[in-house]
């Protein structure tokens, strides 16, 4: 049961982080800090890392 709640919490926190990331990238684009494609590419790399990490960890913890 512990493991299930851990995965639920991990997924919830990760979704929140990904949503915050979108807000952050949009703010940086609005303020013209860097070109939008560069920022979205960076976001995609970070998001892929997070999604892979969550999937791998969930798989290991629940198996």
């Amino acid at each position: 049961m512990n493991e299930v709640w851990y995965v639920v919490g991990l997924v919830a926190v990760s979704v929140a982080v990904l949503a915050l990331g979108v807000w952050f990238v949009r703010r940086e684009i609005r303020d013209e800090v860097s070109p939008a494609p560069v920022l979205w590419a960076g976001y995609a790399v970070v998001a892929a890392f997070i999604v892979f990490g969550v999937l791998r960890t969930s798989w290991v913890v629940l198996s």
């Binding site: 512990n2 493991e3 851990y6 952050f24 800090v33 860097s34 890392f49 960890t57 290991v60």
Partner: protein
């Protein structure tokens, strides 16, 4: 307002140096002992068995590089993003071991593997504190005495350069 900008910049410098030295120390402690680091990585039982040796070599090198970049203030925000991701992965590793009831030492500064007395709560709180510093460095766009200033900026910084509408970073310029 200038005082506030200065204060934010100096706090950023302090955070940068602290986090940089932490990562540098962690990396240097693990670098000469890849076999022990590999054992620590395997203790988490998260990565595929075959990936542990490569990870045990790559992680300390990445920590040293990130530590140096943070200390120098070079590509600060990019380094802070990478540092935050690293800390998130450490947090996930520690908490996942905790949730599964494993008894391991985190091996954050060398050592690692089985432990009769794991300190998951202390390790988690410590990493959360470091993560907060990394996030601060991401949100803050400029810190004091950074090489970024020499390479990517010009002129005297304003308050806006610290938090809101700066136009240039190490990632590029749109002006």
């Amino acid at each position: 307002m200038r005082t506030r900008a200065d204060l934010l910049g100096w706090i950023g410098l302090a955070g940068r140096l602290y986090l940089g030295f932490v990562f540098l120390a962690a990396g240097l402690a693990k670098l000469p002992e890849p076999a022990i680091t590999e054992q620590a990585v395997r203790g988490y039982q998260l990565l595929p068995w075959q990936l542990a040796p490569a990870y045990a070599i790559a992680m300390p090198i990445a920590e040293v590089v990130l530590g140096v970049l943070l200390i120098l203030g070079l590509f600060t925000r990019t380094a802070a993003v990478a540092t935050a991701l690293g800390l998130c992965s450490f947090l996930v590793g520690i908490t996942a071991a905790w949730a599964r009831g494993l008894n391991i030492d985190c091996g954050c500064f060398g050592g690692g593997g089985a432990s009769a007395d794991p300190s998951y709560l202390a390790d988690t709180l410590r990493d959360l504190g470091w993560l907060a510093i990394a996030v601060y460095l991401i949100v803050l766009r400029r810190t004091k005495l950074a090489l970024d200033d020499l390479l990517f900026r010009r002129g005297d910084p304003s308050v806006d350069d610290y938090i809101e509408s700066s136009k240039k970073t190490e990632l590029g310029s749109s002006t």
